[in-house]
C-alpha cells in the first residue's frame, strides 16, 4: 500500500517517458531497415534500451528491465565487435517483438493492472540470436568457446571501462541461495553475473546454461548458484556486493588460493578452465584494437542525426494547466474590454489613453491566439505509427507497398488526435488488404509493382482534411450491390442508387465483401468504427473511387472542438449562439409565405421548398416581445440534410467563441437535446450554443409523439 503511495507521481512520468522511448525505438528500427544499421543508430538504440532498463528497474518492473537488458547485450555486442554477417531482418523482427511486449506491459501498467507478462520466451530467442551472432562473428575467442561446447557468452563480457585485462589478485567462490518462492532464480542469477563483470573477471558459474534451460532453475533452487571468479576487491568488498543482491537468502563466500583452483571446481569444469586461459590471452591482443575502434565510433556518433532527435525541444505540460491558462486568458480579454470600453473613460477622449488601449488590445488578441494554438498538436506522431502497420502487413500479405506522408505538420486539437488515430489505422489496413493487389496482378494490369498508399493532411477553411489514397483495385459497384442485396441492406432499389450511395454502403455495420474472416478484415466492423469515431468529433467521411485505379477516402474534421464560429442571436433577454457552419441563410419573412398545417405546425415556403419553423422563444420558454414574424428574423439552419427555420428576435453578430461544456451537474440531471454547450461572451454574459441536430431530432420526436397521442 505504501509502495503504491510513493510510486504514484513517478508512475505517470515513467509511463510517459517509456512510451516516448518505445515509440522512438520503433521509428528507429523502421528507419534502419531502409538505411541499414549505422553506428549512430546502434548507439541510439543502445541508449534507449539502457534508459528503459534503468527506469523499469527503478519502478520494480523486472520483466521489462530484464528484457531490455537482454536486448542491450545484443546491441552492445554489435557496437563493440561489429560482426559482419548480421541477419538484420531477424534482428529487426526480434526488436519489434520486444517493443510490442513492452508496449503491452506499459498498457497494463497504465490501466492499473500488474505488469506480469512472461518475457522468458523472448529472452530465450534473444539469447539464441546473440549466440548465433557470435558464431558467425569475427573474433576467434568466441569460436574457442564453441569448441568447448558451452554457451558461456554472458560470462565473458568485458565492460567498456576495462581496457586492460587485469589478473585479479583474489579468487573467490560464491554460492548464492535465493529466497524460496522468489521465482525466476535463473534470471536473477544472470543479473548477478552481469553486475559482477565490472569488478571481476575469469567468471564462471555452475549451472552454466542459466537462461537457456529450465533445469538450471531447479538446480539453483536446490543447490544454490555457484560462481567462481577473480577480482581485485577484498573479501569484505565482495561480500558487500553480494549483500545487495535482491531476494538473497544466503551467501557462502570462500576465498581461494591459487593452488586450490582446480580442486574447488567439479571435474566437468576443467576443460572450460583451459578455454578460459586461452581466451583471456586472446583478449589481451584484441583489446587494444577494440579500444581504437570504440574511439572512432564515438566520434562518428556525434554527427547529428536529425531524424533520431524528433523530441528534443518539446516540454510536456499537464493538460489541466493548459485549461486553466485558457480560462485566465479568456477572463483577461473580458476584463480588458471592460476597462477600455468603459463609457466614462471614453468620454474623456484622451489621445494617449486611446493609443495605449489599442496597443493593449493587439497584445491581448495575440496572447489569446497563441494560447488557443497551444492545444494543437501536429499529426506527425499519428501518421508515423502507420509506417509500422504498413511494414507488418506487407510482410504478412507478401505485398510491396510504399507509404507516403504529406502535410504531417498540420495541427489538430489534442482531443481530436486520440479519436482519429484508430480510424486512420483501419483505413490504411483496408487499403492494404482490400485495395492493393498482389504484385503479379499489378504487373498484369500494367501498374508499377510497388503499391502506393498516400496519407495527406491539409487545412480547408475551418476543417482539416485527411485523405487516404491508394492506387489499388478501387471499389467494384456490382460486388457491393450484390453483397448488400444478399444481406438485405439495400434501402432503395438498385437502379435509383447514385455512385456515392453505393460507395457509402461500405459504412454499414456488418458489411464486408470478404468471404472469409482474416486477421485483418472481413468482419464488416471496421468502417462502422471509423464513421462512429469521426462523428464523435463532429466530422464526416467521404469515399471516392475509380474501379481499377484506386480508392480515396476523405475524413473531414473540425479544426478544434473548442472553438467555433457562431452567430449570436437574441431571444427576449437571452442570447443564443448558432454555429455558423449550420446556417444557410437568414431573412425576414413575409406573412404571405407562412402556412400552418392542421397539426398546428408552422411552415414557410422558400424557393418552392417547404421548411418547418421553430419559434425559439416558445421552445426555450423565454418571454419575448417579438412574436410577430415580421419583427424578428428567421434563420435557416441545416444538418444531416434536414433543414428547419429558427425564429429569433434579432441577430447580434458573428463571433468566434470558445465552447465550454455544460456543467456536469446539469448534464447528469437531464440530457438537454437542443444545447451543445455554452460560451462566455465579451461582456461576461453567458450564451447557450444551440445544437441543430438535437433540435431537429427532438422536434421530430415531439411531432411524432403528438401524432401518437392524438391518434391513440
Amino acid at each position: 500500500m505504501a509502495e503504491q503511495f510513493s510510486n504514484e507521481p513517478m508512475l505517470d512520468i515513467y509511463i510517459f517517458e517509456s512510451t516516448q522511448n518505445i515509440e522512438q525505438l520503433e521509428l528507429l528500427i523502421l528507419e534502419t531497415e531502409k538505411t541499414g544499421y549505422t553506428p549512430a543508430a546502434i548507439n541510439e538504440i543502445f541508449r534507449i534500451m539502457h534508459t528503459i532498463k534503468g527506469s523499469s528497474a527503478m519502478m520494480l518492473f523486472n520483466n521489462i528491465s530484464n528484457l531490455s537488458h537482454n536486448l542491450e547485450d545484443v546491441f552492445y555486442y554489435l557496437r563493440e565487435k561489429k560482426p559482419q554477417n548480421i541477419d538484420y531482418s531477424t534482428l529487426s523482427d526480434l526488436v519489434l517483438e520486444c517493443v510490442d511486449f513492452i508496449k503491452v506491459e506499459l498498457y497494463k501498467i497504465k490501466n492499473g493492472d500488474s505488469a506480469n507478462g512472461d518475457a522468458s520466451g523472448l529472452a530465450e530467442s534473444i539469447a539464441k540470436f546473440l549466440v548465433q551472432l557470435k558464431q558467425n562473428g569475427q573474433s576467434e575467442s568466441e569460436n574457442t568457446i564453441e569448441k568447448s561446447g558451452t554457451s558461456q557468452s554472458p560470462v565473458f563480457y568485458i565492460s567498456k571501462d576495462k581496457t586492460k585485462v587485469t589478473m585479479g589478485k583474489n579468487t573467490f567462490k560464491a554460492v548464492i541461495f535465493f529466497e524460496d518462492g522468489c521465482e525466476m532464480e535463473n534470471i536473477r542469477a544472470y543479473a548477478v553475473l552481469n553486475n559482477m563483470k565490472d569488478f571481476a573477471d575469469n567468471v564462471s558459474c555452475f549451472p552454466e546454461k542459466i537462461i537457456e534451460s529450465d533445469s538450471s532453475l531447479n538446480e539453483i533452487r536446490k543447490n544454490g548458484f555457484k560462481i567462481f571468479f577473480r577480482t581485485d576487491r577484498s573479501f569484505d568488498g565482495v561480500k558487500d556486493f553480494f549483500q545487495h543482491v535482491a531476494f538473497l537468502r544466503d551467501i557462502e563466500l570462500i576465498e581461494i588460493n591459487q593452488d586450490n583452483n582446480p580442486d574447488s571446481f567439479e571435474s566437468s569444469k576443467s576443460p572450460i578452465l583451459e578455454s578460459i586461459t586461452l581466451s583471456v590471452s586472446d583478449k589481451t591482443e584484441n583489446n587494444p584494437v577494440i579500444v581504437h575502434q570504440t574511439k572512432a565510433i564515438d566520434e562518428k556518433a556525434s554527427e547529428p542525426d536529425i531524424q533520431l532527435n524528433t523530441v528534443q525541444n518539446i516540454i510536456s505540460v499537464n493538460v489541466a494547466k493548459l485549461d486553466k491558462l485558457m480560462d485566465l486568458v479568456g477572463e483577461m480579454v473580458i476584463a480588458e474590454a471592460m476597462v477600455t470600453q468603459n463609457p466614462d473613460i471614453l468620454a474623456l477622449e484622451h489621445e494617449g489613453f486611446l493609443k495605449a488601449s489599442r496597443q493593449l488590445r493587439k497584445i491581448t488578441n495575440e496572447l489569446q491566439d497563441t494560447v488557443m494554438s497551444i492545444r494543437m498538436v501536429p499529426l506527425i506522431t499519428t501518421f508515423q505509427k502507420m509506417h509500422r502497420i504498413v511494414r507488418d502487413m506487407c510482410k504478412k500479405l507478401g505485398k510491396d507497398v510504399q507509404l507516403t506522408l504529406i502535410g504531417e505538420e498540420t495541427e489538430v486539437d489534442k482531443n481530436i488526435i486520440e479519436h482519429i488515430s484508430d480510424p486512420i489505422m483501419h483505413l490504411v489496413r483496408n487499403s492494404l488488404d482490400h485495395g492493393i493487389e498482389s504484385e503479379g496482378e499489378r504487373i498484369k494490369k500494367g501498374k508499377p509493382p510497388k503499391g502506393m498508399v498516400t496519407l495527406e493532411a491539409t487545412n480547408a477553411g475551418s476543417d482539416v482534411l485527411i485523405i487516404i489514397k491508394d492506387d489499388g483495385r478501387g471499389l467494384n459497384k456490382e460486388i457491393l450491390l450484390s453483397k448488400a442485396k444478399e444481406n438485405h441492406l439495400l434501402s432503395r432499389p438498385e437502379e435509383e442508387m447514385t455512385d456515392r450511395e453505393i460507395y457509402n454502403l461500405i459504412f454499414l455495420p456488418g458489411f464486408s465483401t470478404k468471404d472469409n474472416v482474416t486477421e485483418f478484415s472481413g468482419r464488416g466492423v471496421g468502417m462502422d468504427v471509423v464513421t462512429r469515431n469521426i462523428e464523435t468529433v463532429g466530422g464526416s467521411v467521404f469515399v471516392e473511387s475509380t474501379e481499377g485505379l484506386g480508392t480515396t477516402i476523405i475524413l473531414k474534421i473540425p479544426l478544434t472542438l473548442a472553438i467555433i464560429d457562431g452567430m449570436n442571436v437574441r431571444v427576449g433577454n437571452s442570447c443564443y449562439t448558432i454555429p455558423i457552419t449550420d446556417i444557410r441563410e437568414s431573412f425576414i419573412p413575409y406573412s404571405t409565405e407562412l402556412i400552418t398545417d392542421p397539426d398546428g405546425n408552422e411552415m414557410i415556403i422558400v424557393r418552392e421548398q417547404c421548411y418547418p419553423i421553430l419559434r425559439l422563444y416558445e421552445y426555450f420558454e423565454v418571454t419575448s416581445d417579438v412574436t410577430n414574424f415580421e419583427e424578428g428574423i428567421l434563420v435557416m439552419v441545416e444538418q444531416d440534410g434536414k433543414t428547419i427555420c429558427l425564429f429569433a428576435d434579432e441577430l447580434l453578430g458573428q463571433q468566434q467563441v470558445v465552447v465550454k461544456a455544460l456543467p456536469s451537474y446539469i448534464k447528469n440531471k437531464r440530457k438537454i437535446h437542443s444545447l451543445a454547450g455554452c460560451t462566455i461572451l465579451g461582456d461576461g454574459s453567458i450564451s447557450l450554443i444551440v445544437d441543430i441536430g438535437g433540435f431537429i431530432n427532438h422536434k421530430a420526436q415531439a411531432n411524432g409523439m403528438k401524432h401518437h397521442l392524438e391518434s391513440g
Partner: protein, 163 residues
C-alpha cells in the same frame, strides 16, 4: 509506520472543519450546511436560464470563467419564490467534483455545533425531511442542518411526483 502518520494528518485536517456549519436564512428558518463543502459566497449575478430543467434550477452563471449551475433553495424546498435583492447570496458548494450554487435569502455566520447538540430530525412529513440531516441547537435557536448529497440528487422523488 509512515502510513498511519499520513492518515493522522488527514484526520486532523478534517477535524478542524468538522462540526462547523455555515448558517443562512430562508424565509423564517435558519439552515446550516457543513463548511467542508463550501467553496465561496458571492452576491447575486445575472443568471442565464437553461431550458428543459426543473424550475428550482434557475440556470447557470459565469464564475471567473467557470460555468456553475445555480439552484434556488426556496423553490427546492417548495416555498414561495422571493425576488432577489442585494442581501441575496449565492453559496457555491463543491460535491463530488461538481460545483453548484445555492441561492439563499441571506448568510449569517459560521458556528461550531458539537455532536452532542445535534438530534435526529423528526418524521413529520416525508418530502421535507429528505434534506435535513439533523437539527442543531445553539443558544436557544434551532438550525436545520442540510444533507447536501440528498439535496442535489433527489430527483427520483421529483419524477415520481410529476406522474
Amino acid at each position: 509506520m509512515s502510513e498511519s502518520m499520513v492518515l493522522d494528518l488527514q484526520n486532523q485536517n478534517e477535524d478542524t472543519q468538522k462540526g462547523r456549519y455555515l448558517t443562512f436564512t430562508l424565509g423564517g428558518e435558519s439552515y446550516g450546511i457543513e463548511i467542508q463543502y463550501v467553496i465561496e459566497i458571492i452576491g447575486t449575478q445575472p443568471i442565464t436560464e437553461v431550458p428543459e430543467l426543473p424550475t428550482y434550477i434557475r440556470g447557470i452563471i459565469n464564475l471567473r470563467g467557470k460555468i456553475v449551475p445555480v439552484m434556488d433553495v426556496r423553490l427546492r424546498f417548495k416555498k414561495q419564490f422571493k425576488e432577489y435583492n442585494d442581501r441575496t447570496c449565492i453559496i457555491v458548494i463543491d460535491i463530488k467534483e461538481s460545483s453548484i450554487g445555492l441561492i439563499v435569502d441571506s448568510v449569517s455566520e459560521v458556528i461550531s455545533i458539537p455532536e452532542s447538540d445535534i438530534v435526529e430530525p423528526p418524521e413529520i412529513s416525508k418530502s421535507g425531511n429528505n434534506y435535513v440531516k439533523g437539527i442543531g441547537k445553539i443558544s436557544g435557536e434551532v438550525k436545520l442542518l442540510l444533507d447536501c448529497d440528498r439535496m442535489l440528487n433527489d430527483e427520483d422523488t421529483e419524477i415520481i411526483n410529476k406522474i
